[in-house]
C-alpha cells in the first residue's frame, strides 16, 4: 500500500504563511461544526468512538483523556500541545509545524472546547526556535479570523531537555521549574498544570482531530487495525537512500516503510521509537507497524550490515544517561551502570558475568523507574541481547583470545 496522507494532507499543498489557503481546503470547517452543532460531550464522545490513540509514544486513548478532563471538577482547565519532539530520530512534528500549523491550531481549538479550557499552550522545544515566528503568525491569523474567541494559545519554549517531552516534566517546565518527572497518580486530567485538570496531546494526535470531526468516528475507525486506528507519521533516517517523513495506515509492514519508501538496502536492523525504542532485526522486517506490535512516536532509524550493534546500544545508553532527570535512582544510577558495562564491551573487555548484570539491572529498572525514560531505557539492551547475543559473546571471546578490535 502506498502512503495515505490524512494527517499530512495539507503539507506541501497549502502556504503555511496564509490562512486563506487553509480555508480553501476545508480549514476550520470542523471547528465551525463543533461550535454550531455539537456539545462538548459529543466532541469528546466522537473522538473516543474514533479509537484515536496518542501519537507521542504511549498510545493512550485520546477521547478518554478528554472525557476525564471534561468531567473533572473546576473551571480552570488547560490544553497543552506537546511539541517537544526530542526523541532521537524523530522530526515528523517539525515537518508538520513547518508545513501546516493551521490544522494543529484547529485541533487545539476543538480540544479546548471539548474539555472547557480557556487557555492552551504549545510547548515548543528549544531546538525548534526557528519555527516560532511562523507558528505565532498562524495563531495570529486564526485569531483575526475569529476562530479563537474561546481560547488563548501561548507558546512556551523549552530550553534543551529531552525529559521535558515526558508530560509531567513538561508541565513542571511550563511552571518555570526544572523539568523533573512527577509521581502519579494524580494524572494530568485530574491534576495537571498548576494542579488543574489538563490534557497534553502530541502534535500529530491533535492533527487528526479536525478530520475525525468532519468525517465522523465511523470513517476513522475503519482505517487501520483493531486496536490501532488511523495512520501514523514516521520519521525515517539512517542508512536509507530517501530519509524523510512518511504517513502510512497503521498495521502496514515495516518492510514497506523501510525498503519500498525509504529505499534501504542490506538492512541489519531497525530501531523503532528512538533511544528507548525496540530493535528489530532484518528477519522481522515484516512486523506490522501498530500499537499491537511496535510503534513508539514513529522514529525509524535504519542500520545496514556494516554497523556494530554494541557501538549503537552503547551510544544510545550514553544519551539516556545524560538525559535522565535524576529524580529516581533506578534510572539515574541504572543508566550510568549500563553505560559503564557497554563501554567495556565496546573495548572488548566485557565478561560473561556482565551479560547477567545487564539483564538483571534492566529488569530492575523496568520495574522500579518513575517514568517512561527509566522504564524503557533498558529496551535496546534487552532487545540486542535477544537478537544479537552472539555479538556480545564474540566480544567476550575476542578478549579471551587477546584479539582487540
Amino acid at each position: 500500500m502506498p502512503e495515505k496522507r490524512i494527517v499530512l494532507k495539507n503539507c506541501e499543498v497549502i502556504d503555511p504563511g496564509s490562512i486563506a489557503t487553509y480555508l480553501d481546503r476545508d480549514g476550520f470547517r470542523a471547528w465551525e461544526k463543533v461550535r454550531n452543532e455539537m456539545t462538548p460531550e459529543q466532541v469528546a464522545g466522537e473522538v473516543k468512538a474514533s479509537g484515536l490513540r496518542g501519537r507521542g509514544g504511549a498510545g493512550f486513548p485520546c477521547g478518554l483523556k478528554w472525557e476525564l478532563a471534561r468531567e473533572a471538577p473546576g473551571d480552570e482547565k488547560y490544553v497543552i500541545c506537546n511539541a517537544d519532539e526530542g526523541e532521537v530520530g524523530t522530526f515528523k512534528d517539525r515537518y508538520i509545524l513547518e508545513n501546516d500549523p493551521f490544522t494543529l491550531i484547529e485541533g487545539i481549538a476543538i480540544a479546548a472546547y471539548a474539555i472547557g479550557a480557556k487557555q492552551g499552550y504549545i510547548y515548543l522545544r528549544a531546538e525548534y526556535h526557528h519555527l516560532l515566528d511562523s507558528l505565532m503568525k498562524a495563531i495570529g491569523q486564526a485569531r483575526e479570523k475569529g476562530f479563537l474567541e474561546h481560547l488563548d494559545i501561548d507558546i512556551r519554549q523549552g530550553a534543551g531537555a529531552y525529559v521535558c517531552g515526558e508530560e509531567s516534566a513538561l508541565m513542571d517546565s511550563i511552571e518555570g521549574k526544572r523539568g523533573e518527572v512527577r509521581y502519579r497518580p494524580p494524572f494530568p486530567p485530574e491534576k495537571g498544570l498548576w494542579a488543574k485538570p489538563t490534557i497534553i496531546n502530541n502534535v500529530e494526535t491533535l492533527m487528526n482531530i479536525p478530520q475525525i470531526i468532519l468525517n465522523g468516528a465511523g470513517w476513522f475507525s475503519q482505517i487501520g487495525t483493531e486496536r490501532s486506528k488511523g495512520t501514523k507519521v514516521f520519521s525515517v533516517s539512517g542508512d536509507v537512500a530517501q530519509p524523510g517523513v512518511y504517513e502510512l495506515v497503521l498495521g502496514s509492514p515495516l518492510r514497506e516503510l523501510v525498503m519500498d519508501l525509504a529505499l534501504a538496502k542490506k538492512v541489519k536492523m531497525v530501531q523503532i521509537g528512538g533511544a528507548t525504542g525496540r530493535i528489530i532485526p532484518y528477519d522481522m522486517i515484516d512486523t506490522p507497524l501498530s500499537f499491537e506490535a511496535i510503534l513508539g512516536a514513529g522514529a525509524v532509524i535504519v542500520f545496514d550490515k556494516s554497523r556494530d550493534i554494541i557501538d549503537i546500544v552503547y551510544r544510545t545508553l550514553e544519551f539516556l544517561a545524560e538525559e535522565s532527570c535524576g529524580k529516581c535512582s533506578p534510572c539515574r544510577e541504572g543508566t550510568e551502570i549500563l553505560v559503564e558495562i557497554l563501554e567495556r564491551f565496546s573495548r572488548a573487555e566485557g565478561m560473561e558475568k556482565d551479560i547477567t548484570i545487564l539483564e538483571q539491572l534492566s529488569q530492575a529498572m523496568m520495574l522500579a523507574s518513575l517514568c517512561g525514560l527509566g522504564q524503557a531505557a533498558p529496551v535496546p539492551v534487552m532487545d540486542s541481547l535477544q537478537y544479537f547475543r552472539h555479538d556480545y559473546e564474540n566480544r567476550i571471546k575476542q578478549k579471551q583470545g587477546g584479539i582487540v578490535r
Partner: protein, 148 residues
C-alpha cells in the same frame, strides 16, 4: 534601571516567569550571570538555590559566558551514522577550539547536542537558531564565514 533589573521584569504567574526570565537573560547576555540569579530570586521571592537549579538544568542555559554565536553539532545516532565526527573535527580545526569551549574573541561557542530533529538532513547542526543540514567539511567553512 540596570540592564539586569530591566530583564527581571515580567508579567505572569510568579513561578511561571522564572524559566522565561532565564531564557531572556541567556539571549541578552549570552549566559545567565550570577548577579541575575540573585536579582531574580529576590524579585520572585524564590530561593537562590532554586533559581540556580533551574538555570543549570537546561542545556540551552549556561552560567558560564557563551560566545555570540553558539554552534551545536548533533551527536545523536542518525547524525553519527552520517559521520558527524568528521564535522566535529572540521569545526574544531576551523575555529581552533574543542566542544565545551568558546573562542577567545567571544565570537563562537562550540557544543555537542542531542538530536535536533533534522535527521533527514544528517549530519546537521544549529548555529544559534539556524539549522544547517547535509554538512560537509567544505560547507562548514562557507557557513562559518556568514557569522560575525
Amino acid at each position: 534601571m540596570t540592564k539586569i533589573q530591566e530583564e527581571t521584569t515580567f508579567q505572569g504567574k510568579e513561578h511561571e516567569s522564572l524559566l522565561v526570565l532565564l531564557q531572556r537573560a541567556q539571549s541578552r547576555f549570552n549566559c545567565v550571570p550570577e548577579e541575575f540569579i540573585s536579582e531574580v530570586a529576590q524579585s520572585l521571592s524564590i530561593p537562590v538555590s532554586e533559581v540556580y537549579g533551574v538555570a543549570t538544568f537546561y542545556s540551552f542555559l549556561s552560567t558560564r559566558p557563551m560566545g555570540r554565536n553558539v554552534i551545536r553539532i548533533c551527536r545523536s545516532l542518525p547524525c553519527y551514522l552520517k559521520k558527524s565526527q568528521m564535522i566535529i573535527k572540521s569545526v574544531e580545526d576551523k575555529i581552533g577550539i574543542k566542544p565545551g569551549e568558546a573562542t577567545p574573541d567571544g565570537k563562537f561557542s562550540f557544543e555537542l547536542t542531542n538530536c535536533i530533529g533534522a535527521c533527514d538532513g544528517a549530519p546537521a547542526m544549529l548555529i544559534n537558531s539556524d539549522v544547517h543540514v547535509n554538512l560537509t567539511p567544505r560547507k562548514i567553512s562557507q557557513i562559518l564565514k556568514t557569522y560575525e
